[in-house]
Subunit: 139 residues, 4 copies
């Protein structure tokens, strides 16, 4: 299956649709069913003590999974997040960017089911795990 | 069981510990096992089209449940979010603040289990449901 | 909104569609958006030590939420469980039946979102919390 | 890290602790952080139409993750399931056994976090995904 959007097209889409956050994210890898997205950690993502906030990790996982689904269904389609289950497992390494590695497990007619692990750049053990489900528009 | 922190004490704690976000939230009601927290919606919480962003709703649910647990175990204790499962059910009403109504279902030795519904101010139907679990420090 | 099936009709439906388990469950209360279903605990539901097994509690929550949705959309419709998030909070009381109290939070065109608390008959504190989502057939 | 129990020891443990279900499951592979467990599908696991029931899949995922954790912490320890989030994605293939492939993502002092995919024997696409968390006994 050919991708309907590549990384450059998705970055442009992000820049137009979500200008407030478009500088936060970089697509590092994009394949069918798989994506890696970096959160460029800045002051506004941090909690006292230097930990990346829960909402920032949630946002990273959502962006990564959403881009992955978009690349497979195309830009016109309106996918809506219906569920996210996120487990926070370890403190991120201070000063590291975060990387979300996300897979599409099912792209059905009505739902897309994804899974995601989030890592600090310098650690192989996951910081968080986030599973997101999207409702897809019926044709 | 008497609360170990009241709403004013928690607001002070929030202001000191999380100054970046302390203006976003107002405690409207606080009882044993129950809390209502308002997200004062501002431009930075919105997505294009005027919808409150997923990370903002996640943040609201986390703050509400965290405050509720804190009020029961006291300020010194360090509760850490371990899991959040959130369902997005309806679009928030444009222009409305959001209200999280959160309960503590279990306050055990090691874990606190909570549930939360989020509403637009002018609608009785929930916008989102979020369940959060916290790991509690052992004595 | 009038219910499309009452408790007797659902019990008949259960008996015909799922004869293996139909003796396990009793509908105690059924209203729009709300249901109470009893699991009549038998040897086969137990783990060593007398605790009701996780799969049995999962099955109870699924049956309760499914019946509640069925009562609102009618028997012909084929609702399929897409997600369940379940928290086990306390040991059930030995010898007690279990009661699931389930609500429909959203009955949309494509998805039904429910929540459920499970109790031992003689305790007000919930044993488990289970949230189930169903994919609904499009017309 | 050496395993504290191998597959034969876990099978013996299962046989003694859960005799009612011990015939249902076979350990196919066991490594540090990883396990494969087969559900030998029988009549009692099925729903009308030949689909494996939700509770049976839940039970498989729980057994697989529990064995994996046990192999790492040893038989004396009492791990308790605190949360399971399960997504049902595709119908199992009729007549196939099911295989759970489960990983331990975090083995902390208080919690073990796992993830699991369930497959029909003759299909590479997952039937279900189940994430389970266990509370571990403090020393």
């Amino acid at each position: 299956m050919a991708l309907k959007m590549d990384a450059a097209e998705i970055s442009s889409f992000l820049y137009e649709a979500f200008p407030q956050v478009s500088g936060d994210f970089e697509i590092r890898d994009l394949q069918e069913n798989y994506i890696e997205v970096v959160l460029v950690v800045a002051e506004r993502h941090l909690r006292p003590g230097g930990t990346v906030s829960g909402p920032s990790m949630f946002g990273l996982a959502d962006v990564a999974a959403y881009f992955n689904v978009l690349s497979m269904i195309g830009p016109k389609a309106l996918a809506v997040t219906t569920n996210c289950s996120i487990d926070f497992m370890r403190k991120p390494i201070f000063g590291d960017n975060l990387i979300a590695k996300s897979k599409v497990l099912k792209l059905g007619r009505g739902l897309a089911v994804t899974e995601c692990l989030i890592f600090s750049e310098r650690d192989e053990r996951p910081v968080a795990r986030a599973n997101l489900t999207y409702s897809l528009p019926r044709k």
